[in-house]
Amino acid sequence: MQRIGVFVCHCGSNIAATVDVSKVAEMSLMEPGVVHAEDYQYMCSEAGQAKIAAAIKEKNLTGIVVCSCSPRMHEATFRKAAERAGLNPYMVEIANIREHCSWIHKDMEEATKKAVILMRAAVAKVNLNAPLQAGESRVTKRALVIGGGIAGIQTALDIADAGYEVDIVEKTPSIGGRMSQLDKTFPTLDCSACILTPKMVEASAHEKITIYTYSEVEKVSGFVGDFTVDIRKKARSVDMNKCTGCGVCQEKCPSKKAPSEFNRGLNTRSAIYTPFAQAIPNVPVIDREACIKFKTGKCGICSKVCQAGAVDYEQKDEIISEKYGAIVVATGFDTINLDKYDEYAYSQSKDVITSLELERVMNAAGPTHGHLERLSDGKAPKEIVFIQCVGSRCSDDRGKPYCSKICCMYTAKHAMLIRDKYPDVNVTVFYIDVRTPGKNFDEFYRRAVEQYGVNYIKGQVGKVIPQPDGKLLVQGSDLLDNRQILKEADMVVLATAIEPNPDVRKIATMLTASIDTNNFLTEAHAKLRPVESPTAGIFLSGVCQGPKDIPETVAQAGAAAVKAIGLLAKDKLMTNPCTAQSDVLLCNGCSTCENVCPYGAITYEDKEVNDHGIRETRRVAVVNNALCQGCGACTVACPSGAMDLQGFSNRQILAEVDAICR
């Protein structure tokens, strides 16, 4: 028989306001095995933990139940407290009477009743708990960063500077990401390339960093400290070691009609290409879909003009398999597809563009060489309208329910840059709210209004109406003046919502990292563990976790790096002892459990058994506790009940069921 102590937390008034905590403590004394019960203001506090320790010692407790917040919050805290008092940490169970009770129920009587039942279930379970010992597993001292934008580069640099090996996997031919496409950055208006390129160069030159561009993560197995990842290095068709980056191949390539990804399809590039001048590595790839040689077998000009003999049409995809201790996801974002927003005439007029396209238009390396002009006729615009919140803050399935966060600031930036460079161009911004929290942000926006005379109108645009003469009639609301506005413009710029890179779904599935309804990766805790995934060993960097601007991204990238370093710095990790175990006498040796184990943790051995006096050799299941992660799939697959899960045993769960249904 266990000697159980029950500790009921008030959590200030969080629990005590709706649950009669002393009643819960009192009722617990009627449960089998309970020899001690008390309630206290804050069980998780130093004083609360001391109370638990004292009771364990004084009353010789063999198990404790803490009725408090979610075990996801403080299970570890109470386990440690118990351990310090000499109790096996796995003799602790939590009854979640805050998130699952006091916070969602209003009626005190009802909530108290429920809390008592939750307490009973936990007591019933702990009655069947057994002490467990955590095992150890090794840590591979190498990190993987998925995505080579500013988030991935910064994370990799920080980890590498701490002395650990880092690999960056980047899908496109060059690192640099979205930031490389930007012309200027807010709120200081530095040139984006000028601050990004040194970082790119630093990463590529760092002796601890290996960069795999034009590569994708193909398969992930293992667990925290010991992941095995297959990386597909796509055939570049150019030998990285031989190429000198002279660029002649790109000049001579006769196929020049592929849309340039870097310039958002606003102009074209050659079939053999580096995405942009400062690309790292400065080695082109052949776009096999566009290449004449690959399509028809004829051509081969690039190979002929390459003095280094680097062009290799026979090159094949290569799979690299590498082990990592930690993985950082930094897959970034894209703008949403605007097909469902045709009221803005994006698909009908070349002069309606997205803000990211405007970045390219304003950039000296862009399709217009930095001249602000209409893409339809090359004429200089006189009147530009910006529309905010295109697809953001939208509760239907056309757009995204969240605020994209960066648009208010970059629109102010664009407006300011245009007014600065082309003072005779009128700029109007239609906004719903201007959101500029951040250091020097609101000042920046006010400068756009006060110093540069940008015309901000509160109200959304209903329709952009292309006119026969090529102008665009913008029909919008002015909610403050209560009038409908018809404004003739030469160009319309849409502050298009951003969304996580669509590839992140696939990657999250491989990593078994959870993802929210908007495809942003979920944090382990929204406030307290914002750069960690709930899946151990997976860290989050940049917009893959939620919309953010460059300074925030860089800050988060550093934070993710620190978390990864904290993991890599350990030699050994404690493993979860809640693993499966097979009862040798009940095992049929049927292999069903082996078939459902996702970790290959179950093997079969011929073992000598003594079954009530009968000695025989039997084929029985053996669980490798280092590999088992404790999902329990095998326990249900096993018809005889031989396979059970420690910490969540059949009898423990049934005891909870019984306690709840009592």
Binding site: E343, Q460, G462, G476, Q484
Partner: protein
């Protein structure tokens, strides 16, 4: 429940609209082809219902200027459907006794030889009990 509150609830029920979803972006008013004819603008309908000022709403000219073209419904980013609120408010009016907006004796003068039946039929449904 006050009668104003009751009517506000009725409008919400008939229209199936939750006015609290509105974020006041003004896209409805930006889309409305009848905007200039309206005294209460489409985006304001929502606050009249929230503030339970149904009296002003049902006496508003806007009720009869709305084309029911659903441009606002289609484009509303918050699924508020101001057009449906207006339809519902109009229903609240015509469901009351002697509140038909279209009177039987004014019909002959409105007719012309090419007028399609459906205009008359729909007007009856829109304007009369």
């Amino acid at each position: 429940m006050s009668s104003e509150k009751k009517q506000a609830e009725l409008i919400k029920e008939i229209s199936g609209v939750n006015p609290l979803k509105c974020m006041k972006c003004g896209k409805c008013s930006a889309s409305c082809p009848s905007y200039n004819e309206m005294d209460i603008k489409p985006h304001q309908f929502v606050s009249y219902v929230i503030n339970e000022d149904i009296e002003s709403l049902v006496n508003s000219k806007s009720l009869w200027k709305c084309l029911s073209c659903f441009a606002c419904v289609e484009r509303c980013p918050r699924d508020v459907k101001p057009g449906k609120l207006i339809d519902a408010a109009r229903q609240v009016v015509v469901r009351q006794k002697d509140q038909n907006y279209l009177l039987a004796d004014e019909i002959p003068e409105l007719l012309d030889p090419e007028l399609p039946q459906q205009l008359l039929v729909s007007a009856f449904r829109r304007y009369r009990r």
